[in-house]
Symmetry: C2
Subunit: 146 residues, 2 copies
Protein backbone atom coordinates (compact mmCIF):
# COMPACT_ATOMS: atom_id res chain seq x y z
CA UNK A 1 0.00 0.00 0.00
CA UNK A 2 1.47 3.29 -1.09
CA UNK A 3 2.24 6.29 1.06
CA UNK A 4 -0.57 8.28 -0.51
CA UNK A 5 -2.98 5.49 0.23
CA UNK A 6 -2.03 5.31 3.91
CA UNK A 7 -2.24 9.05 4.20
CA UNK A 8 -5.74 9.08 2.74
CA UNK A 9 -6.95 6.35 5.06
CA UNK A 10 -5.39 8.06 8.04
CA UNK A 11 -7.07 11.34 7.09
CA UNK A 12 -10.42 9.55 6.91
CA UNK A 13 -9.92 7.86 10.26
CA UNK A 14 -9.24 11.20 11.87
CA UNK A 15 -12.41 12.62 10.42
CA UNK A 16 -14.27 9.77 12.09
CA UNK A 17 -15.40 8.30 8.79
CA UNK A 18 -16.77 4.81 8.65
CA UNK A 19 -14.08 2.71 7.01
CA UNK A 20 -15.76 -0.23 5.36
CA UNK A 21 -13.97 -2.93 3.39
CA UNK A 22 -15.43 -1.52 0.18
CA UNK A 23 -14.14 1.96 0.86
CA UNK A 24 -10.67 0.62 1.56
CA UNK A 25 -10.77 -1.40 -1.64
CA UNK A 26 -11.73 1.58 -3.78
CA UNK A 27 -9.03 3.72 -2.18
CA UNK A 28 -6.46 1.01 -2.85
CA UNK A 29 -7.60 0.70 -6.43
CA UNK A 30 -7.18 4.45 -6.84
CA UNK A 31 -3.69 4.24 -5.32
CA UNK A 32 -2.64 1.36 -7.54
CA UNK A 33 -3.21 3.48 -10.62
CA UNK A 34 -1.56 6.89 -10.27
CA UNK A 35 -3.35 8.12 -13.37
CA UNK A 36 -7.10 8.58 -13.76
CA UNK A 37 -9.63 5.76 -13.99
CA UNK A 38 -13.29 5.44 -14.79
CA UNK A 39 -15.68 3.77 -12.39
CA UNK A 40 -15.68 0.79 -14.73
CA UNK A 41 -11.87 0.62 -14.66
CA UNK A 42 -11.93 0.63 -10.87
CA UNK A 43 -14.35 -2.28 -10.90
CA UNK A 44 -12.17 -4.13 -13.40
CA UNK A 45 -9.08 -3.59 -11.29
CA UNK A 46 -10.86 -4.99 -8.23
CA UNK A 47 -12.21 -7.92 -10.20
CA UNK A 48 -8.63 -8.81 -11.18
CA UNK A 49 -7.86 -8.99 -7.49
CA UNK A 50 -10.74 -11.36 -6.93
CA UNK A 51 -13.22 -8.88 -5.43
CA UNK A 52 -16.47 -7.57 -6.79
CA UNK A 53 -18.16 -4.28 -5.92
CA UNK A 54 -21.44 -3.23 -7.51
CA UNK A 55 -21.70 -0.10 -9.62
CA UNK A 56 -23.77 1.88 -7.12
CA UNK A 57 -21.23 1.17 -4.41
CA UNK A 58 -18.28 2.40 -6.45
CA UNK A 59 -20.18 5.47 -7.57
CA UNK A 60 -21.20 6.29 -4.01
CA UNK A 61 -17.65 5.91 -2.76
CA UNK A 62 -15.92 8.01 -5.41
CA UNK A 63 -18.53 10.74 -4.96
CA UNK A 64 -18.00 10.63 -1.24
CA UNK A 65 -14.23 10.93 -1.67
CA UNK A 66 -14.74 13.75 -4.13
CA UNK A 67 -16.97 15.65 -1.69
CA UNK A 68 -14.22 15.28 0.91
CA UNK A 69 -11.72 16.75 -1.54
CA UNK A 70 -9.61 13.59 -1.69
CA UNK A 71 -10.45 12.65 -5.25
CA UNK A 72 -10.66 14.70 -8.42
CA UNK A 73 -13.21 14.16 -11.16
CA UNK A 74 -12.41 15.00 -14.78
CA UNK A 75 -14.41 14.81 -17.97
CA UNK A 76 -12.08 13.74 -20.77
CA UNK A 77 -14.59 14.23 -23.57
CA UNK A 78 -15.54 11.04 -25.39
CA UNK A 79 -13.20 9.11 -23.07
CA UNK A 80 -15.75 9.60 -20.31
CA UNK A 81 -15.51 10.69 -16.69
CA UNK A 82 -12.47 9.63 -14.69
CA UNK A 83 -11.42 9.81 -11.06
CA UNK A 84 -8.04 10.09 -9.41
CA UNK A 85 -6.65 10.43 -5.91
CA UNK A 86 -5.26 13.88 -5.26
CA UNK A 87 -1.73 12.95 -4.32
CA UNK A 88 1.53 14.78 -4.54
CA UNK A 89 1.90 14.49 -8.28
CA UNK A 90 -0.95 16.62 -9.51
CA UNK A 91 -1.06 16.98 -13.26
CA UNK A 92 -3.39 17.96 -16.06
CA UNK A 93 -4.07 17.05 -19.65
CA UNK A 94 -4.14 18.50 -23.11
CA UNK A 95 -6.70 16.62 -25.20
CA UNK A 96 -6.52 16.98 -28.96
CA UNK A 97 -9.95 17.55 -30.46
CA UNK A 98 -8.90 16.07 -33.79
CA UNK A 99 -6.94 12.91 -32.98
CA UNK A 100 -7.86 12.39 -29.33
CA UNK A 101 -4.26 12.31 -28.17
CA UNK A 102 -3.79 13.06 -24.46
CA UNK A 103 -0.66 14.96 -23.40
CA UNK A 104 0.36 15.33 -19.76
CA UNK A 105 0.66 18.84 -18.42
CA UNK A 106 2.70 19.96 -15.46
CA UNK A 107 0.80 21.35 -12.51
CA UNK A 108 2.99 24.43 -12.17
CA UNK A 109 1.32 25.91 -15.22
CA UNK A 110 -1.85 26.44 -13.16
CA UNK A 111 -0.27 28.48 -10.37
CA UNK A 112 -0.84 31.85 -12.00
CA UNK A 113 -4.48 31.01 -12.70
CA UNK A 114 -5.02 29.82 -9.13
CA UNK A 115 -3.60 33.04 -7.79
CA UNK A 116 -5.76 35.20 -10.04
CA UNK A 117 -8.94 33.38 -9.11
CA UNK A 118 -8.16 33.67 -5.42
CA UNK A 119 -7.28 37.33 -5.60
CA UNK A 120 -9.88 38.60 -8.05
CA UNK A 121 -12.86 36.42 -7.16
CA UNK A 122 -12.31 35.40 -3.53
CA UNK A 123 -12.79 31.81 -4.64
CA UNK A 124 -10.58 28.92 -3.56
CA UNK A 125 -10.04 26.87 -6.71
CA UNK A 126 -9.39 23.16 -6.70
CA UNK A 127 -7.61 22.76 -9.99
CA UNK A 128 -6.52 19.22 -9.37
CA UNK A 129 -6.90 17.54 -12.68
CA UNK A 130 -8.00 19.65 -15.55
CA UNK A 131 -8.52 18.81 -19.20
CA UNK A 132 -7.75 21.48 -21.78
CA UNK A 133 -9.02 20.79 -25.27
CA UNK A 134 -7.40 22.06 -28.43
CA UNK A 135 -5.23 20.99 -31.36
CA UNK A 136 -1.88 19.26 -31.14
CA UNK A 137 0.93 20.21 -33.50
CA UNK A 138 0.47 17.28 -35.86
CA UNK A 139 -3.21 18.00 -36.34
CA UNK A 140 -2.57 21.70 -36.85
CA UNK A 141 -0.10 20.88 -39.61
CA UNK A 142 -2.45 18.38 -41.17
CA UNK A 143 -5.36 20.83 -41.25
CA UNK A 144 -3.08 23.57 -42.59
CA UNK A 145 -2.14 21.31 -45.48
CA UNK A 146 -5.73 20.93 -46.59
Amino acid sequence: MSDTCERVIEALRQRGARLTIQRRLVIEALCDEPDHQSVQAIQERLRAKGTHLTEPTVYRIVQWLKALGLVSQTDLGQSGIVYQLIGDRRHHHLVCLACGRVIDLDDGIMDALRESVRRDYDFEPRIDHMAIFGLCRDCRERSAGE
Copy 2:
Protein backbone atom coordinates in the same frame (compact mmCIF):
# COMPACT_ATOMS: atom_id res chain seq x y z
CA MET B 1 -31.68 37.54 -35.00
CA SER B 2 -28.55 38.75 -33.29
CA ASP B 3 -25.30 39.85 -34.89
CA THR B 4 -23.50 36.78 -33.64
CA CYS B 5 -26.17 34.60 -35.14
CA GLU B 6 -25.90 36.19 -38.56
CA ARG B 7 -22.15 35.96 -38.44
CA VAL B 8 -22.28 32.26 -37.66
CA ILE B 9 -24.71 31.56 -40.47
CA GLU B 10 -22.64 33.60 -42.88
CA ALA B 11 -19.50 31.71 -41.88
CA LEU B 12 -21.28 28.43 -42.54
CA ARG B 13 -22.56 29.56 -45.90
CA GLN B 14 -19.04 30.48 -46.95
CA ARG B 15 -17.80 27.04 -45.96
CA GLY B 16 -20.41 25.59 -48.28
CA ALA B 17 -22.28 23.91 -45.44
CA ARG B 18 -25.76 22.63 -45.99
CA LEU B 19 -28.06 25.00 -44.13
CA THR B 20 -31.16 23.10 -43.17
CA ILE B 21 -34.08 24.54 -41.26
CA GLN B 22 -33.08 22.49 -38.23
CA ARG B 23 -29.55 23.83 -38.23
CA ARG B 24 -30.81 27.37 -38.44
CA LEU B 25 -33.20 26.74 -35.58
CA VAL B 26 -30.50 25.33 -33.31
CA ILE B 27 -28.18 28.22 -34.11
CA GLU B 28 -30.96 30.68 -33.31
CA ALA B 29 -31.70 28.92 -30.06
CA LEU B 30 -28.04 29.17 -29.13
CA CYS B 31 -28.07 32.88 -30.00
CA ASP B 32 -31.19 33.55 -27.97
CA GLU B 33 -29.46 32.39 -24.83
CA PRO B 34 -26.05 34.00 -24.46
CA ASP B 35 -25.21 31.63 -21.62
CA HIS B 36 -24.80 27.87 -21.86
CA GLN B 37 -27.61 25.40 -22.44
CA SER B 38 -28.02 21.67 -22.40
CA VAL B 39 -29.39 19.79 -25.39
CA GLN B 40 -32.63 19.43 -23.45
CA ALA B 41 -32.78 23.18 -22.83
CA ILE B 42 -32.32 23.84 -26.54
CA GLN B 43 -35.22 21.52 -27.31
CA GLU B 44 -37.34 23.21 -24.68
CA ARG B 45 -36.56 26.65 -26.11
CA LEU B 46 -37.58 25.49 -29.57
CA ARG B 47 -40.72 23.85 -28.25
CA ALA B 48 -41.71 27.19 -26.72
CA LYS B 49 -41.46 28.65 -30.21
CA GLY B 50 -43.74 25.97 -31.57
CA THR B 51 -41.10 23.77 -33.21
CA HIS B 52 -39.96 20.30 -32.35
CA LEU B 53 -36.59 18.74 -33.13
CA THR B 54 -35.74 15.22 -32.08
CA GLU B 55 -32.88 14.50 -29.69
CA PRO B 56 -30.62 12.87 -32.30
CA THR B 57 -30.98 15.90 -34.52
CA VAL B 58 -30.01 18.37 -31.83
CA TYR B 59 -27.09 16.23 -30.73
CA ARG B 60 -25.84 15.89 -34.28
CA ILE B 61 -26.07 19.61 -34.88
CA VAL B 62 -24.31 20.76 -31.72
CA GLN B 63 -21.54 18.24 -32.32
CA TRP B 64 -21.18 19.44 -35.86
CA LEU B 65 -20.94 23.05 -34.69
CA LYS B 66 -18.46 22.03 -32.05
CA ALA B 67 -16.27 20.24 -34.61
CA LEU B 68 -16.29 23.44 -36.66
CA GLY B 69 -15.14 25.38 -33.62
CA LEU B 70 -18.29 27.51 -33.48
CA VAL B 71 -19.69 26.07 -30.28
CA SER B 72 -18.05 25.22 -26.97
CA GLN B 73 -18.93 22.21 -24.86
CA THR B 74 -18.55 22.31 -21.08
CA ASP B 75 -19.15 19.79 -18.33
CA LEU B 76 -20.60 21.64 -15.35
CA GLY B 77 -20.47 18.69 -12.95
CA GLN B 78 -23.87 17.55 -11.76
CA SER B 79 -25.48 20.21 -13.95
CA GLY B 80 -24.55 18.11 -16.97
CA ILE B 81 -23.04 19.01 -20.33
CA VAL B 82 -23.85 22.38 -21.84
CA TYR B 83 -23.22 24.09 -25.15
CA GLN B 84 -22.73 27.71 -26.10
CA LEU B 85 -21.94 29.71 -29.21
CA ILE B 86 -18.44 31.11 -29.15
CA GLY B 87 -19.22 34.75 -29.64
CA ASP B 88 -17.36 37.86 -28.65
CA ARG B 89 -18.08 37.54 -24.99
CA ARG B 90 -16.21 34.42 -24.04
CA HIS B 91 -16.35 33.67 -20.36
CA HIS B 92 -15.79 30.88 -17.89
CA HIS B 93 -17.25 29.66 -14.65
CA LEU B 94 -16.34 29.04 -11.07
CA VAL B 95 -18.52 26.24 -9.71
CA CYS B 96 -18.75 25.84 -5.94
CA LEU B 97 -18.43 22.19 -4.96
CA ALA B 98 -20.38 22.76 -1.75
CA CYS B 99 -23.39 24.91 -2.71
CA GLY B 100 -23.33 24.57 -6.51
CA ARG B 101 -23.24 28.30 -7.09
CA VAL B 102 -21.93 29.33 -10.51
CA ILE B 103 -19.87 32.51 -10.77
CA ASP B 104 -18.94 34.08 -14.10
CA LEU B 105 -15.28 34.48 -14.83
CA ASP B 106 -13.70 36.92 -17.23
CA ASP B 107 -11.91 35.44 -20.23
CA GLY B 108 -8.79 37.56 -19.77
CA ILE B 109 -7.79 35.43 -16.84
CA MET B 110 -6.99 32.59 -19.24
CA ASP B 111 -4.54 34.52 -21.41
CA ALA B 112 -1.46 33.61 -19.41
CA LEU B 113 -2.43 29.94 -19.41
CA ARG B 114 -3.05 29.97 -23.16
CA GLU B 115 0.33 31.50 -23.77
CA SER B 116 2.12 28.95 -21.56
CA VAL B 117 0.44 26.01 -23.23
CA ARG B 118 1.31 27.32 -26.68
CA ARG B 119 4.90 28.07 -25.80
CA ASP B 120 5.77 25.10 -23.62
CA TYR B 121 3.75 22.36 -25.29
CA ASP B 122 3.30 23.47 -28.89
CA PHE B 123 -0.43 22.92 -28.43
CA GLU B 124 -3.11 25.34 -29.58
CA PRO B 125 -5.64 25.43 -26.74
CA ARG B 126 -9.31 26.19 -27.23
CA ILE B 127 -10.18 27.48 -23.81
CA ASP B 128 -13.58 28.77 -24.75
CA HIS B 129 -15.73 27.95 -21.82
CA MET B 130 -14.07 26.34 -18.89
CA ALA B 131 -15.43 25.29 -15.52
CA ILE B 132 -13.19 25.60 -12.49
CA PHE B 133 -14.41 23.83 -9.38
CA GLY B 134 -13.66 24.94 -5.85
CA LEU B 135 -15.15 26.64 -2.81
CA CYS B 136 -16.83 30.02 -2.76
CA ARG B 137 -16.24 32.42 0.11
CA ASP B 138 -19.50 31.67 1.89
CA CYS B 139 -18.87 27.95 1.91
CA ARG B 140 -15.29 28.41 3.07
CA GLU B 141 -16.52 30.46 6.02
CA ARG B 142 -19.24 27.96 6.79
CA SER B 143 -16.85 25.00 6.80
CA ALA B 144 -14.34 26.97 8.88
CA GLY B 145 -17.02 27.50 11.51
CA GLU B 146 -17.60 23.80 11.96
